[in-house]
Symmetry: C2
Subunit: 621 residues, 2 copies
């Protein structure tokens, strides 16, 4: 991470009536990186119908940033005293004209951003329309909507949400979030982390004085700000009258305090360190059955400190259970999909620890990985291991396995076709043989994240809204806890038709639904998917948030987008329907989402079945 | 219209167990144009888990239409005894396989259509998924979903609506509507007229026997069927056991009765005769200010029997009011936008009837129309009329008008820029002068029409979902009565800034909203727009459905689509927000739609502001 002090962009608000030249110089001297002046001088133009018509255009006397000198250092505030929602038509017309004039000016002199002040109450329809219009007129200038967290527990979010919906999720419109003395509940704060908050405004009176009289923030404020600081954002010290309101310190003290908070953001844990640079980044899931994995991918996953430890433990426990102590019986272990051999190593170690005799097969279809396996055999394993280059689904060995070990799980459990592979490999197993893993369960939860939605929508096509992504979540809000969808057990008890039979895979079709209760207003942008796998008895690996295997980083969650964001009011329910479908060549998921609002099931646009027939996304067999 | 007898496609349902060859020949002999057989023979394959697995593929013995001979004459029924919604996974898998096998077969032999039987109760999620999958697999075969009107007052529609939403308005999926003995209320019947009902199924037991013992339908059934017969649809006589259940008549009697109904469909009224071929057809509104109208367009509109009658009456009444009887005063009448001169003719006739002296100016910007006006002057009008070739907004005549007559109204009132033109022409009017029209009001109502929605969506781009269309409605359901949105008055009392001033047109901006109560479940696809204009005092022209000027065909309604269909449950409200926006070069509308369900305002995808900044549609000044 780069030096946090130099990278935290902290600016300062300029009050109406101040001289921009003097203030910009002063703010710079105090270490602020930019200023936030009003665009128009207060009272310099009439907004209400006072018999004085608006001038046809603005002039220098009306404008605060009236030339290019300070343009790059200024984020302009659209006059908060305009009234786009007035019931008086002249006031509305004048306000619209004044907004347009300011936007045109901001664009002309090249301001990096402009800030609209969300009206604290009443309608936001015409306000949102103007914001959207401004976003359409500006190409390089960021549009911020300033909302205040203190406007009731939930009002600020509700108003922002309406604006965002009205402006159709325009990615050029961001939130400038004002953090006041009173903070709403943790759930509301969490919800804001899933919103495009690109500016954080901290008025000086949000600060309290510490024992030495310097401005500091209270504990909950600190925690929330440090969460915000995990992503790139601007910070603004607001309502600053250029005299410190705290007994000690100077104007620079506010900036210094934010920089201090930034420096002391807690260190990321193992998983987040591993995920650095991948947070909220949409990755297409692997297709390890259809495509051969590259060596670098094996390399990465083999570094997981937890996963292989759990596998070793599972093999150890299975050996102990299966063979009495002191027996000479040889247990046949087949590692199917052996890759570069980590599960072979772990099985050997488990056998040694358990003091049981084993015979090992390393079965792998990827010719490139087999090269490595053969080298390992020659250099390390010797006769204990037989390397077989074959697709496990079609192999016919001379002897059968006591234990079948595989690592074919994806973020959603079955999404890398573990069921199909292990069905095919089941012939290799003795009738009372053990499969490690023995079961996996897929979980889903409704998720809010304007970033993930906008990133998927930015592709501009339908395919990307019907494709699941592997994502390390950060700017997301989990609307409720996950629920189990379906499971697969190995060895399966279903009748397995032979490969090539037109219905050979239908027993791996699934349909399930889960209904979630929504405890606060939220916008759903998609479905988070997780899995929990039982390797052997109580030896498990999990990426379910509540049971996540500590420090295990091999799997990020999966994200299924929905085509249109779905507003879910508090007290509503939402039902997620999910299908796992198969044909002779592929496997795919279909999903849809149906809200129930005050008991009324509302089958709407998000309810359209996504990815019908696997048209946008499928996994090749 | 072509001979109705030969064009009504009536087919007959074939019951399971019948021999297709024998039946097809017999049905043909009875005058039926096609047959509706089941695709699979009953009981020929197992659907439940009875220890007997499904065969890998169908064979001739399973299939009713087992060769191409009758394919073109057959609409195949997907076995109604399959159960896609079973809680038993094997039954579901078997049902899915059986559906796929039938669909593949139907596609292979080239059936014109297949019919899915909507389950009469329970979930429709996996059913809808299969229907959508089938629609995706079939290219030339129409997919019908059979629903029965008798499934409760509203259930059938609710179930169809869920299926249509889940299948995302797939235009390849149509309704096969079964008309039973009991009909639901008129509102429900009306709603079905807005749905893609491409097949109407009438079971023989829906018929009653007339005095002579022949099968006939009761009055309400007749009316509903004749409404359905206004558009192209297939008809099927169902549950026919090939013996008439009515004392007299033969199997042909049912077909003959439907043909009789078709022959006796009431003659269309003047407006519908005029609109023949344009029902439910999306036309882009005219841009008469920016573009010059063609002669043929003038020709069509001059045929209106009502509009010019009303104008003549308005001029007559204005002259009577303005000039005392017997006075020698000369009233200056300017017809602005005179076109080919119909309003000049009418003004002359009104003056003659009123016995008042007038001096007429025919003002027209379209050079081609002016050629015709000059010819009319030379041949008919003489000195009574002065023809002026000029844009009324920029003309500076030597004298001013007592009466300004214009016909600049569009379907939405102001949408052909009547306000802007008349503002510009207002200088021509004496201070106490009269404008005909003196006022016009725009009305809106939430509208349901899957056809209009699908036609707009079929363009496959955003622009066409943000553009209003002029449409003669037929397959639509007006969810509630219209409400007034805004009005324009002439002469206006607003301060008019000169043309060229950057804000010259802001007084013609409008914002308004209207909230509608929804009395039954419906899907909104857009907004119907109408206008009502006061020409002079109580002389009006209107296309508002409740006050529509009888036989006036000059204006069809306007239709503003919404991007996504919106489900509105009974008891909900929906608010339509509308803006009329202007800049120096153009005028445009923006609109959005917000439902309130059980008191909860649900700002969703239909709430996104449509056509922001006029990006998809605008009217040039």
């Amino acid at each position: 991470m780069a030096d946090p002090v130099s990278t935290l962009p902290v600016g300062i608000e300029v009050l109406a009536g101040e001289d921009i030249q003097r203030i910009a110089a002063f703010a710079h001297g105090e270490g602020y990186k930019f200023v936030v002046p009003p665009l128009l001088k207060l009272g310099s133009v009439p907004v209400h119908d006072v018999g004085r018509p608006l001038p046809a255009s603005l002039n220098h006397a009306n404008l605060v940033v009236n030339g290019p000198e300070y343009a790059q250092l200024s984020i302009g505030s659209i006059s908060p005293w305009i009234d786009l929602e007035s019931s008086d038509q002249t006031t509305v017309s004048n306000s619209q004209i004044l907004v347009q004039q300011q936007i045109h000016w901001a664009s002309h002199i090249g301001l990096p951003g402009v800030i609209f002040h969300c009206p604290p109450s009443g309608s936001v329809f015409s306000f949102a329309r103007s914001v959207a219009e401004a976003a359409g007129m500006l190409s390089h200038t960021q549009v911020y909507v300033r909302v205040s967290l203190s406007d009731g527990q939930n009002d600020a979010w509700t108003r922002w949400n309406a604006i965002r919906m009205l402006a159709r999720h325009n990615a050029k419109i961001a939130v400038a979030l004002e953090i006041n003395h009173e903070l709403p509940g943790d759930d509301t704060l969490k919800k804001w982390l899933a919103e495009p908050v690109k500016m954080v405004i901290v008025p000086t009176n949000t600060f309290v004085a510490n024992r030495k009289g310097f401005p500091v923030l209270r504990k909950r404020h600190q925690v929330f700000l440090q969460q915000l600081m995990q992503s790139e954002r601007r910070y603004v010290i607001a309502s600053a009258d250029f005299e410190s309101i705290h007994p000690s310190g100077t104007l620079a003290s506010y900036r210094e305090y934010l920089e201090h908070l930034h420096r002391t953001v807690p260190e990321p844990d193992t998983i987040n360190r591993f995920a650095d640079g991948y947070h909220d980044y949409l990755q297409l899931p692997l297709q390890p059955l259809m495509d051969n994995l590259e060596s670098a991918i094996y390399e990465v996953f083999e570094q997981d400190p937890i996963k292989y430890q759990q596998y070793e433990q599972a093999v150890y426990r299975a050996l102990i259970d299966r063979v009495p102590e002191g027996s000479d019986a040889v247990t046949v272990i087949m590692v199917v999909g052996a890759g570069r051999g980590p599960l072979v190593d772990r099985s050997i170690r488990a056998a040694s620890d358990a003091n049981r005799k084993v015979k090992l097969y390393a079965v792998e279809k990827n010719a490139n990985a087999v090269v490595g396996l053969r080298a390992r055999k020659q250099e390390v394993w010797g006769d204990a291991v037989t390397v077989v280059h074959v697709d496990m689904r079609y192999w016919n060995p001379e002897e059968k396995a006591d234990i079948l070990v595989s690592e074919l799980l994806g973020s959603f459990g079955d999404n890398e076709l573990s069921p199909e592979c292990l069905d095919g490999a089941q012939r290799l197993l003795k009738p009372n043989g053990i499969s490690i893993p023995s079961q996996y369960v897929s979980y889903v939860a409704p998720l809010s994240s304007s970033k993930l939605f906008n990133d998927a929508a930015a592709f501009g096509d339908e395919e990307h809204m019907e494709t699941p992504y592997v994502v390390k979540f950060r700017s997301v809000f989990s609307i409720t806890d996950p629920q189990a969808l379906w499971s697969f057990d190995h060895p399966t008890k279903s009748a397995i038709r032979p490969q090539g039979h037109p219905h050979f895979n239908v027993h791996n079709n699934r349909y399930s639904k889960a209904t979630f209760s929504v405890s606060q207003d939220a916008v759903m942008h998609g479905i988070a998917g997780y899995f929990e796998a039982t390797l052997y008895k109580d030896v498990k690996v999990s990426i379910h948030p509540e049971t996540h295997s500590k420090d295990m980083f091999s799997w990020f969650p999966i994200f299924f987008p929905i085509r249109v964001p779905l507003f879910l009011p508090r007290g509503s329910e939402v039902t997620v329907h999910f299908w796992r479908a198969t044909d002779t060549r592929k496997v795919w998921y279909e999903w849809c989402v149906v809200p129930t609002i005050n008991g009324v099931e509302v089958v709407g646009e998000a309810s359209a079945i996504h990815n019908p027939g696997g048209k946008s996304y499928w996994i090749g067999l």
